[in-house]
């Protein structure tokens, strides 16, 4: 009992223990329901989980470095899929912007965190002038702004969440609830999915999406006492909806890029998942919406 109490008192220990339990439970579910397609992503999760947990355990600096690295690598995937990556000056400016945003988040400079994207875009406007070229330049500029927004600014909120006045609970909630929501949508879709509902992501089913969102909302009430105990029940419901719906919006937004470019995945780094972007696309929406939405209503995160 003492051990259980100690684990529950500490969000990091709670989430680490819960993540291990969920992995075992999901492995059981996948095995029992005979969802063969889930084994490869499950095996990859055995690598992703420590990759997420170790930097969080190491502290805000390590976590910020981790977020910066996945943002840069994710943006590289985005650039390779869209063709932007061949335009080095644009890519380098966005890389610099990603570093600046995460540095501001780490230092908790909220003004700089919010204006870093603005300054980066301003520098991006200079690139076509410096290149003195018109062909396709507007396209590369626009894609750079989209990339900076999603990979730099939106994902940068994960770095921001590492040092909230409410501890590390909100970060753990956003990261793990969003990832679990993705897994649930996949598993429910495989097991119960009948009706496909979007051309952006043809494998998504109505049943999978709704069941995942509902389960995520329900599980948010389980996590709330550990992750954000100061939030009232209607706020917990809101947090659940942000992750349950926002995660799928993020997924679909990046699916739009993939469909437009005619590729299936952003990369091959994570077997069964695709690239880094395929794994973090949901977080691109849930993290900023959580920070600003919940922060506006229940005190600044």
């Amino acid at each position: 009992m003492e051990v259980a109490r100690a684990i529950l008192a500490d969000p990091l220990r709670s989430y680490t223990a819960a993540a291990l339990v969920v992995m075992v439970v999901l492995a059981g579910v996948v095995s029992a329901a005979r969802i063969g397609a889930a084994w490869t992503p499950m095996r990859t999760w055995l690598l992703i989980l420590p990759a997420l947990l170790v930097p969080i355990w190491l502290g805000a600096g390590a976590w910020t470095l981790f977020v910066t690295a996945i943002s840069i690598f994710g943006f590289k995937e985005f650039g390779r899929v869209s063709g932007l990556y061949a335009e080095r000056p644009f890519v380098l400016v966005v890389y610099a912007g990603i570093v600046a945003i995460n540095l501001a988040a780490y230092l908790r400079l909220d003004g700089e965190f919010l204006v870093a994207p603005f300054w980066t875009i301003l520098v991006l406007t200079l690139v076509p002038i410096a290149l003195n070229r018109t062909a396709d330049t507007l396209q590369w500029f626009a894609l750079s702004v989209v990339g900076l927004t999603f990979y730099g600014f939106f994902l940068g909120h994960l770095s921001w969440l590492a040092q909230t006045p409410f501890g590390i609970g909100p970060l753990l909630y956003v990261v793990f609830a969003t990832q679990l929501n993705d897994v649930l949508a996949f598993l429910f879709g495989k097991r119960f999915g009948r009706r496909r509902w979007t051309t952006l992501s043809p494998n998504k089913t109505l049943e999978g999406s709704l069941l995942a969102a509902a389960t995520t909302v329900a599980l948010t009430f389980v996590q709330a006492p550990v992750a954000f105990p100061h939030v009232p029940p209607w706020g917990v419901l809101l947090a659940g909806l942000i992750v349950g719906i926002g995660g799928q919006v993020g997924d679909l937004t990046m699916a739009l890029v993939k469909r437009s470019a005619g590729v299936k995945d952003f990369g091959r780094l994570l077997p069964g998942h695709g690239g880094i972007t395929d794994r973090v696309n949901s977080l691109m929406i849930t993290a900023p919406v959580f920070v600003h939405g919940m922060g506006f209503l229940f005190g600044r995160f």
């Binding site: 390779r80 899929v81 869209s82 005619g262």
Partner: protein, 228 residues
């Protein structure tokens, strides 16, 4: 805008579906800022360590850019580092060294060392269409610095025709390079190298105006004269 508006066109990079280990050996190399940085670090470290351990003598004028193919004799793993150390810095940046795919690009650690330190790109000795493919690549490339070993093996002293003819017919200037001293510094079969040896790299004049059929003999004669 009046001519139909702005059209966006996504252009996924051609190597998008290729595994990373395969991309490491691609020629021409696709854009990859991270790999370029790692290659530059690997190259600089390798050259610095090489210069610290061996006495290098460079004879002749390093070949002119923007594009050149160097054909060297091959007796040791140190050959590539010797040429890298002998070349001016601007050559090193674009240098690509042909290395056997079946030996260097099967395992991760070896592929990473070959591509990032020795600047290797993959040459598939077992693929029937490989020479045709290289012929197409060289014709399309307007700049570059290639190093290859026509003997194909550290144990073989005679030049093999295939790639030599491809280069000779491609329009790329072909420069003979003779390396000596590396065989003694790191013989075939030895686990580690023997430092503090003297290594000599000789750059010849480009084999222009040499009939393709004679390139082989001219090259072997150059190697015999300068590398024994």
């Amino acid at each position: 805008m009046s001519g139909g508006g702005i059209r966006f066109e996504y252009r996924p990079l051609p190597d998008l579906d290729r595994a990373f280990i395969e991309r490491l050996g691609d020629y021409p190399r696709g854009p990859d800022i991270g790999l370029e940085v790692l290659r530059a670090i690997g190259r600089s470290l390798a050259v610095a360590l090489f210069r610290l351990q061996f006495r290098l003598e460079v004879v002749g004028r390093p070949p002119e850019l923007p594009r050149v193919a160097m054909a060297a004799n091959h007796a040791s793993h140190l050959d590539t580092l010797a040429v890298l150390a002998a070349l001016p810095r601007r050559h090193g940046r674009g240098l690509a060294v042909l290395a056997a795919r079946d030996y260097f690009f099967r395992r991760w650690e070896r592929a990473a060392a070959a591509a990032l330190v020795a600047q290797a790109v993959a040459f598939d000795r077992q693929r029937y269409t490989e020479l045709r493919e290289w012929s197409r690549r060289l014709a399309a490339q307007q700049r570059g610095c290639l190093l290859f070993y026509p003997s194909g093996s550290r144990r073989e002293r005679r030049a093999q025709r295939g790639m030599l003819l491809v280069v000779a017919r491609s329009g790329w200037p072909l420069v003979p390079v003779a390396i000596s001293g590396t065989r003694e510094a790191w013989p075939v079969g030895a686990r580690v190298w023997r430092p503090f040896r003297r290594i000599r790299v000789v750059f010849g004049e480009p084999l222009t105006d040499v009939p393709a059929a004679e390139v082989e003999q001219r090259l072997e004669a150059f190697w015999r004269e300068h590398a024994g």
